[in-house]
Symmetry: C2
Subunit: 234 residues, 2 copies
Amino acid sequence: MKDWIWTRERKASPARETLSREQIVTAAMAILDTDGVSGLSMRKLAAKLDAGATSLYWHVPTKDDLVDLLIDEVWGEIDVPEPELAGWRAGALLFGHSLRSAVLRHPWLPEVMYTRPSIGPNAMSLGERGLVLFGAAGFSDHEIDLAMGSVMSYVLGTVSAEVATREMVRKSGRSEETWVSEMLEQAQAVANDYPSMQESVRRRTSATLDTSLTENFVFGLDALLDGLESRVKR
Amino acid sequence: MKDWIWTRERKASPARETLSREQIVTAAMAILDTDGVSGLSMRKLAAKLDAGATSLYWHVPTKDDLVDLLIDEVWGEIDVPEPELAGWRAGALLFGHSLRSAVLRHPWLPEVMYTRPSIGPNAMSLGERGLVLFGAAGFSDHEIDLAMGSVMSYVLGTVSAEVATREMVRKSGRSEETWVSEMLEQAQAVANDYPSMQESVRRRTSATLDTSLTENFVFGLDALLDGLESRVKR
DNA sequence: GACTATCTCGAACGGTGTGCGAGTCCTTTG
DNA sequence: CAAAGGACTCGCACACCGTTCGAGATAGTC
């Protein structure tokens, strides 16, 4: 099929002090977290490591493969509680929050995540632990997959949208509050023909952006988990 | 704040037969649908229109703005039933399916959607009609926003993941069946240390990719709607 | 016929990912 | 100790990208 980047390893010990894949991944992660996808270029990455741009290509076959490694790195940061600790429902809630905060830490993820499959070792381990957690809930075998997939999709979808608005605030250079008020004003003007939209916008003026986004996330996750719970086989 | 592309309009009638924004959008949509984001370049787009590459810049300020227009075009394809027709729950289900199939028709959307806000006219109208639909369900004012947001996020998250796997099949050049069997074989080998994953993989061998993805989507959406329904104020 | 607004477009700039081949170091072997 | 060969670095070059600039062409108005 294809030989994945994850299976490649060093065959002998390095001849001298040398670049390493680990170093490259770490540096690339730093660039990505602060400058986003558009801020990551092979030349810039190499410069950060005091190396020639093309030296990187000895350690990493391609930029896309490097991004694959970085994505898997993020999957490695996510907690999946074992069901014995707090039960299924609490575990799923914890998992969701852990997933959300990992994505918020790495806001470049939604932009690249949906263009490739996740089959790195950390993604695998995450899947395994997730299936164990949902398996303990009492779903039928088949529904274990469905339930876990639904939760992951909901969380990733919600937090992807969340990241989009948060990045917009960041790029605007304004503070959160002034951005919100400016945005509301703008929206009011545009939404004149849309009464429901206008009301919705007006409603949002009371809360801060942060609490509003969190509440949004929790509300849907709770509802979804409610729905899933009622599907547990009896 | 910024003057959005949508508000610009022609001030006088065109001097002669000329390129139009509409033409450009149509051609760009065709390229995007068949070749994806990486296949769309200004030069290629211009060539398709028998024009010079830089001519486009008179009609569209920037490539990013063009993509904004294309995204809004997609939002325009989505049905949101009025609640009187079939009630809230059936309407939300219909809305979800319409949203899903629109994204499947334009698989490049997830890649670009999460990097910008959606504030074009079609997005606005979509939001308006969505709020009307969810408003008819009997949620409290505040929960209308939350409920609709949850459904949109779930659908977009799920279908984004779905698109990722479908695109992978397409790019592999294999048929759906052979791809699935090859992938399962591969996964079996990789997932040796992960018993739950292995079982999950084995479970999937029975269904076709298409029915499996659809079932996945419907299962979670139903669960979420169940959870939302129980939150309707009494 | 002159003027102006609308529109087209070739040339060029500064960026991008990456293939190629020469070169440098260090370990292993004879 | 010399030779060989693997491990690794990197400058050059290529094709492509989005976009700016300024010169031109076209058509309607006075």
